[in-house]
Symmetry: C2
DNA sequence: CTCTTTTGTTAGATATATCTAACTTTAAGC
DNA sequence: GCTTAAAGTTAGATATATCTAACAAAAGAG
């Protein structure tokens, strides 16, 4: 009894909505959730009971809704699947934001962790491989529009050549490396060295900050603390102090 | 009333199963469908009634099940979405066949025509662009396995160079073109010229056989008639006579 | 041509996820 | 602090998609 059975897609949606509301508005009232998901309040009440029964949220009638630790973790996974699909649809397939959002919302429930990782790795690889990169992705978008833009392959080759020419220097010259703390929001980078020891090192490794991983700085508070980054599909918040000792190589 | 409302995911599954059974076994009995979808026969009966009500199948109690024209067309769309996702998962993301099949099965119901096209175009582009191609996809698969195989970029560059060097000759030398009829099963090609006139020209253009489209020969009957091809995610069956006047450029 | 097995149907139950409508609690206005 | 408005809950209805169990039709075996 009380088997930890998998969440239904619908309940995952409610959990995700609560997660977003709590992080963005600091409160997740029944009405907010109802508006967010475009359902009636009565449906939300039912869902909250179900989520509480599964120990994903703290909830009592008329009470405040908060996520349990398990709920937080579960919601993060759902969000990660969602964001991964959405990012792939928008940045790679060039689908418009609304359709990407809607489709990701429906597909997220059936994407395994393994496949989510594959999507993330694929986008990383497109970024990292000198043969591709953002300019290649753009060529694909043009191909879609013009239907048969065989394009300027010679010019393309030169771009690839140049990227490859620059490659070894990146590996030897330390100048091209910099601390994570010196990146600007929107910049992508590959983790080169983690100059931390002990528990903290272990903790950030567990969060996916490992050598070779590709990350992006999402936000930085006015004084640079905290720094929000996205890595392997997860959103992380690091203190500025912690980012100073992570060496990265800026991409592109 | 009797609005042509969208099929539910479940009914799409039944329709898809019927389509496959009819094409593979020439019959789609209640039991076959039940076994195929791993549900009880009573569930199938209910579903058949629903599909018949929507004019997608011909069905009467204890009678034979066949697809209506609308049903055939609808099923083809579902299959196309399914196959597209599955192909992307297997050939690009390198997901194992079973998981690709399962995930495609659940995701297919929420993929729009537009996004299906994008997936197909993306796979086409990977094939066509000299910067990528199958060798690039394989590099990605290695990258996934070894986690950080920065690999032999110089060698890679030479491959790209060679592909681009060969490119112009393809465009001028007629020798590299051949009739679709001379392809072997498994070979991929890009449509270069359709030497047909009138109704048939119009018909095959409608089916997606247009200049620049990438197709693959799936099967060829002993005497070469009919030829089954896959193009833009659709499966087509052409008579040998019809394939003689379609000029293609073999890929890879 | 009957008997048995297989196949197909029906009826009724269950689970999920919604809704509407009525009711209750909490919060806000003055 | 009372009154009203907003927010939240409950109960009961509906729709989908399943199931089990009992029954009916068709097919196969002798």
């Amino acid at each position: 009894m009380t088997t930890i059975k998998a969440l239904t897609g619908s309940l995952e949606d409610y959990l995700e909505a609560i997660y977003h509301l709590l992080h963005q508005e600091n409160k997740a009232r029944v009405k907010d959730v109802a508006d967010h998901l475009q359902v009636k309040k009565s449906s939300v009440t039912v869902a909250l009971r179900a989520l509480a029964k599964q120990k994903l949220i703290n909830y009592a009638p008329y009470g405040e809704v908060t996520l349990t630790l398990l709920g937080e973790k579960t919601a993060e996974d759902v969000v990660r699947r969602h964001e991964t699909l959405k990012e792939f649809f928008i940045t790679v397939l060039d689908v418009d934001a609304k359709q990407a959002e809607d489709t990701a919302c429906k597909m997220e429930h059936v994407l395994s962790k393994e496949m989510t990782d594959k999507f993330i790795q694929f986008m990383e690889f497109i970024d990292i491989c000198p043969r591709t990169g953002q300019d290649w992705v753009e060529k694909f978008h043009n191909y879609c529009g013009e239907k048969h833009a065989s394009g300027d392959c010679k010019g393309c080759l030169n771009e690839v050549k140049e990227k490859i020419r620059l490659l070894p220097s990146v590996k030897t010259k330390e100048e091209t490396l910099c601390a994570l703390s010196s990146l600007k929001p929107g910049e992508k980078a590959e983790v080169v060295k983690i100059q931390h020891k002990g528990t903290f090192r272990k903790r950030i490794l567990e969060m996916g900050v490992t050598t070779g991983a590709v990350l992006m700085v999402e936000r930085m508070a006015p004084l640079g603390d905290p720094v929000d980054i996205k890595i392997r599909g997860y959103h992380l918040s690091l203190r500025k102090e912690e980012t100073k000792n992570i060496l990265v190589k800026i991409l592109r």
